[in-house]
């Protein structure tokens, strides 16, 4: 059996029956493709350092508690680090899942629903994560009871 010939996507010889959206969507897919590569390269550094500091150095996973997080977020350096990691990883992951949905969900309505759920979760997680970093309080007073730690003022 002869190998089927597959035209390159931009050749203009692709049967219109295989095209979901009429006309061009501008440069969006190219920008998304480029973004996956640029964000990926930056994420390697961000995530590997995150895993090293939290899982390998010191007491590793056994050393993580509220005080550990307070110690890190006392410094704007780690706040910005985590913020960048949050945004880049979420956008990179969301775009990756968008591509996967486009690949496997063939019905228009299924794709629309899945992407609706995806984009909603992304917005919720990115907003929540951002708020958590910037509203973090190392010495909270809950129901009138102050948190006790050596870095907090004595009540």
């Amino acid at each position: 059996m002869a190998t089927p010939t597959i035209e390159t996507p931009r050749s203009g010889r692709v049967s219109p029956g295989y095209s979901r959206t009429p006309g061009s969507r501008g440069n969006f897919e190219m920008i998304a493709w480029l973004f996956m590569r640029i964000s990926g390269a930056i994420l390697v550094v961000l995530i590997f350092v995150h895993l090293y500091v939290n899982l390998v150095a010191g007491d590793g996973i056994t050393g993580i508690d509220f005080g550990f997080v307070a110690g890190k977020w006392a410094s704007p350096f780690w706040q910005i680090w985590d913020l960048t990691m949050l945004w880049l990883a979420m956008l990179h992951g969301t775009n990756g899942i968008r591509v996967i949905i486009n690949d496997y969900a063939e019905k228009n309505s299924t794709r629309m629903w899945l992407k609706g759920v995806l984009y909603t979760s992304t917005v919720v997680i990115v907003v929540l994560g951002t708020l958590v970093i910037f509203t973090f309080d190392p010495c909270p007073v809950i129901d009138g009871v102050a948190h006790v730690a050596d870095y907090c003022p004595a009540p």
């Binding site: 089927p4 994420l43 899982l55 590793g60 992951g93 899942i97 997680i125």
Partner: protein
């Protein structure tokens, strides 16, 4: 619009190229869902120190310890293979050496994972 979209034969060539793509896709999805949960559990620092510590304590038991090993294995593969994909796309000789680069990815991944497993498991199981 054709009713069924069944290709005759396989459109892919199999072997290293296709399998690394399958692994890249699966690890990407796994990391994404972990990250959703991870931001939720971290957000407990805004509820109370006790709530955060209670949930994080469950990450320290041996079963979760093995789960963390799996997560790190997925991340390290996705990261190294992602660099390989970037090299295939942007480096002149990338497509020619894509197969050799995959074996380098697998080799580097094994070295990192052996070192990490020793360190992490001694934290999880050690006193």
């Amino acid at each position: 619009m054709p009713k069924t979209l069944s290709p005759t034969g396989t459109l892919y060539r199999g072997r290293e190229g296709q399998w690394s793509w399958v692994a890249h896709r699966i690890t990407g999805v796994v990391i994404f869902f972990f990250l959703l949960v991870h931001v939720l559990d971290t957000s407990l620092v805004r509820v109370s120190p006790e709530a955060y510590d209670a949930v994080i304590a469950s990450y320290k038991n041996p079963i979760m310890g093995l789960g963390e090993l799996g997560l790190v294995a997925a991340i390290v593969f996705h990261a190294f293979n992602g660099i390989r994909v970037i090299l295939v796309d942007f480096w002149k000789k990338g497509p020619k050496y894509h197969r050799q680069m995959l074996w380098s990815v697998v080799g580097l991944w094994a070295v990192v994972m052996i070192a990490f497993s020793i360190r992490h498991l001694s934290h999880v199981f050690g006193g």
